[in-house]
């Protein structure tokens, strides 16, 4: 303690305190906000699960989507969206939505859908919605497996169809009126498949008849490859291109070089006089 108090008037003391507080705040925030985990449901629908799903739906979703999923002024109709859409939205935590934002972001799962029973519950709701009027079903593990996928072809397809919103490697991008295309580095293969298939929120949909399942697997292979790929040149700077590079050039490199220039020309017996 005396060491600190002895240095309380050190020129760098103020900076040190600010730095410490920033680190504490940032670290605390990061520690307290977790990230949701995606579920991989397995079993097929039965009337029991559909009933359970209807029940869960009434508890978690009906306030906004209507008791019969017919939609209200604040949420669209879910009739015909299919199990895949439900699985995507709920397993990423986007739904149930807490606020009426421009965009629903990935967030920690609601209590009913988190924990051990979570995946089964999500499956139940998905089955319930599927039972209403059909729609794209949840893809099977085989459908989303990237074994034997062509990453190169995935690159071409991703760049052509997806990069305009999600950026070259899926780092995300801005849309209009406060919406945005999210980053894809946390997305599981199932989520990516479901998103392409169902077109959540502002995202367009890509049916299996046009963007074939094999093409979709190639795209998934590309995205997962990019998410796991290292950056041989150093820190990635966000993988969003020259904007962060320019910031580093000014605030990092030029600044460091200027500091060295100040050192070089400083007077030897160096206290500046007033």
């Amino acid at each position: 303690m005396r060491w600190i108090t002895a240095r309380r008037r050190h020129p760098a003391a103020g900076y040190a305190v600010v730095l410490l507080m920033l680190v504490a705040l940032g670290g605390g925030y990061a520690f307290l906000t977790g990230s949701g985990a995606a579920a991989a449901p397995v079993s097929g629908p039965s009337s029991a699960t559909i009933a359970k799903g209807a029940d869960l739906f009434a508890r978690n979703c009906a306030t906004c989507h209507g008791l019969d999923a017919q939609g209200t002024s604040v949420a669209p109709s879910l009739i015909g969206v299919g199990a895949a859409a439900v699985d995507f939205q709920v397993s990423t935590g986007r739904m149930p939505a807490k606020q009426n934002d421009a965009e629903n972001a990935r967030k920690p799962l609601a209590p009913d859908f988190a924990g051990e029973d979570g995946p089964a519950n999500i499956r139940a709701v998905a089955d319930y919605i599927q039972s209403l009027a059909g729609g794209p079903p949840i893809p099977t593990p085989a459908q989303v497996s990237t074994e034997g996928a062509d990453v190169g072809r995935g690159q071409e397809l991703f760049i052509e169809n997806c990069a305009a919103c999600h950026n070259f490697v899926g780092a995300g991008g801005a849309l209009t009126y406060g919406k945005y295309a999210p980053a894809l580095n946390q997305s599981t293969p199932a989520e990516i498949y479901e998103a392409m298939l169902t077109g959540p929120e502002a995202m367009p949909n890509f049916s299996d008849s046009t963007l074939t399942p094999q093409s979709k697997r190639d795209i998934i292979a590309y995205v997962t490859q990019k998410s796991s790929e290292n950056n041989p040149g150093g820190f990635s700077l966000g993988r969003i291109g020259p904007v962060t590079e320019g910031l580093v050039a000014f605030l990092g490199i030029l600044f460091a070089v200027i500091l060295s220039a100040m050192w070089i020309v400083a007077k030897q017996h160096g206290k500046t006089t007033r």
Binding site: Q155, C165, F168, G173, G233, S236, V243, L254
Partner: protein
């Protein structure tokens, strides 16, 4: 001693052939003033040297060809993808040549640093008034170097033919195409036909590795030689005047310092190239005209142009079968063109306004030229707002601002911001001048508190140190202009102050030379200290026409015409 023997041997051999003793001695004894801001130009210089070195390495491996190939190199995720040879060779350099990625990254970081240093250096020159006589030509050379640097960078990062830079070329083609009358021809000639063609990369290559570096090298040499010949400026300080230069000699001091600085710059760039990935073209993918990525920006030094394009309103005229694309060529040409033109003309404009045609070798402190500083900050603000707009989609995404709102904000602040910045900066400068005057008059606070017999506490002050005093006191006061109100005995104003232009000049003179007087005002020394640096505001001298009854129709000696 070995020095003497060396000098005898090699020195004599060279001197016999080149007559070097006297010239070299003068060179060695040349004095260089010291201030860290004087090293900004050196940053640009050494970055350029590093660009040449690393660039030469890259030319040994790069293939400037747009022939289509299918990739099967070391970067597995792009196997089977169709790409140009240029792109494939860039992947080759990055993944199959030892040190290749490092050289590529040092090269690109050095290019960014080169441009950043030029901006910093240019601003330093501007704000300290180092562009004044006799350095106007060097200022102009500097502006040309800046332009060449912009082009060099643009062409350089377009060489790998990746998706990001290819999009930039597409925009370049669109801008060319929009130029009235000759646009389509220019575009087709540059690209060798319709976009993208097969010629653009090889052509940019030769511009980038031969033509423009040659021009830059020649101009930098001229730039340095002029600086050398005229001697560098110096910051105000004790013993420093417009007739001398104070500092340390070239040999061995300056040589050692500048050499050290070169190694620092190289070292910092190497550090950046190790820990900060730049231009990862393998992530962007090869260029294809059917696709585009979100968040596509050019390198930062082109950012202002990009922002100008984004901020523009959709204005186009279709007249008699021809299209005037104002929405394209106005933002492409006007903002940056205006800034460069103003910058180029500024030394001469300032000379005309202030009438100051003296040589200046001591720099101004920015606060002592409030209008110049304020104007500079206003231009920087204008530039900065358009620059930020160039990244508006990234800013919108990361700071959760609606996308269209960013553009609307930029559309307003690009006009309002500079005005506010001008006003604020000028006020700040004048305030700092007052503070300086106060300091000179009242001295520096020492932190020693003394209690007077009557109980009052005062803080002791001591006079400002000699060194600081010299810096504070130095002013380059402009010569007074003949006032437009002042007329000679025949009622004729001074030639340069006549007419509308003369009145404009007088008014501008008042604005540009507005400054706080250093002499303490009489009385309690707390006068508002705000004087105008000119003495032109007195009533015009009485005009006598000789006759007490001068009604304008006087005769004889009443009518005196000027010479």
């Amino acid at each position: 001693m070995s020095i003497e023997r060396g000098l005898e041997g090699v020195g004599t051999w060279l001197d016999d052939r080149f007559h070097g003793a006297k010239g070299l001695r003068t060179f060695f004894r040349k004095i260089f003033p010291d201030h860290w801001t004087f090293l900004l130009g050196e940053i640009a210089l050494y970055s350029f040297v590093i660009l040449l070195l690393t660039g030469t390495f890259l030319t040994f491996f790069f293939q400037p060809s747009m022939t289509s190939v299918t990739y099967h190199g070391s970067y597995v995720p792009l196997h089977g993808v169709r790409m140009s040879e240029a792109y494939a060779s860039t992947l080759n350099i990055s993944f199959d040549v030892r040190g290749g990625l490092l050289m590529r990254q040092i090269h690109h970081w050095a290019a960014d640093l080169f441009m950043a240093a030029i901006f910093a250096h240019m601003l330093r020159i501007f704000f300290t008034g180092a562009y004044r006589k006799p350095r106007e030509v060097n200022w102009l050379i500097g502006i040309v170097l800046l332009t060449l640097g912009l082009l060099e960078g643009l062409f350089g990062y377009s060489l790998p033919d990746d998706l990001l830079s290819g999009a930039g070329l597409r925009i370049l083609e669109g801008v060319l195409q929009s130029i009235p009358v000759v646009g389509t021809y220019l575009a087709y000639f540059l690209f060798g036909g319709p976009f993208p063609g097969h010629d653009i990369v090889p052509r940019l290559y030769i511009l980038h590795v031969l033509l423009i570096p040659g021009l830059i090298l020649a101009l930098v040499t001229a730039h340095l030689f002029i600086m050398f010949h005229q001697k560098h400026t110096q910051m105000p300080g004790p013993g420093r005047t417009d007739r001398n230069v104070v500092g340390a000699p070239m040999y061995p001091y300056f040589m050692a310092k500048t050499g050290a600085f070169f190694f620092f710059i190289f070292g910092v760039l190497a550090l950046a190239a190790t820990f900060a990935q730049i231009n990862p073209v393998w992530l962007y993918g090869p260029y294809t005209p059917i696709a585009m990525s979100a968040g596509s920006q050019p390198d930062f030094y082109m950012g202002m142009l990009e922002g100008a394009l984004r901020v523009m309103v959709p204005w186009e005229w279709n007249v008699a079968g021809h299209t005037f694309s104002f929405n394209v060529f106005l933002p492409a040409l006007v903002p940056l063109g205006a800034i460069f033109t103003l910058a180029a003309l500024w030394p001469f404009l300032e000379q005309w306004i202030t009438g100051d045609r003296r040589e200046h070798h001591v720099n101004d402190r920015p606060r002592n030229a409030p209008t110049r500083t304020a104007l500079g900050i206003a231009v920087v603000t204008f530039y900065g707002i358009l620059w930020a707009e160039g990244a508006n989609d990234i800013l919108a995404d990361h700071f959760a601002v609606p996308l269209y709102l960013t553009t609307r904000i930029a559309q307003v602040t690009m006009f309002v911001g500079p005005v506010v910045a001008y006003f604020l900066t000028k006020r700040i400068c004048l305030g700092l001048q007052r503070k300086d005057a106060h300091l000179l008059e009242h001295g520096v606070e020492t932190g020693i508190i003394r209690q007077l017999p009557n109980g009052e506490y005062i803080e002791e002050t001591r006079p400002v140190s000699e060194e600081k005093r010299a810096a504070l006191v130095f002013r380059s006061k402009p010569p007074g202009l003949p006032s437009s109100g002042e007329e000679d005995e025949n009622g004729v104003p001074a030639p340069e102050m006549r007419g509308a232009l003369g009145k404009v000049r007088a008014r501008l003179y008042n604005i540009v030379t507005e400054s706080v007087e250093l002499e303490p005002s009489h009385g309690n020394g707390h006068g508002d200290g705000h004087g105008n640096g000119h003495g032109a505001d007195h009533a015009p001298a009485a005009v006598t026409s000789g006759e007490p009854t001068g009604t304008g129709s006087g005769t004889g000696e009443g009518d005196q015409h000027g010479p």
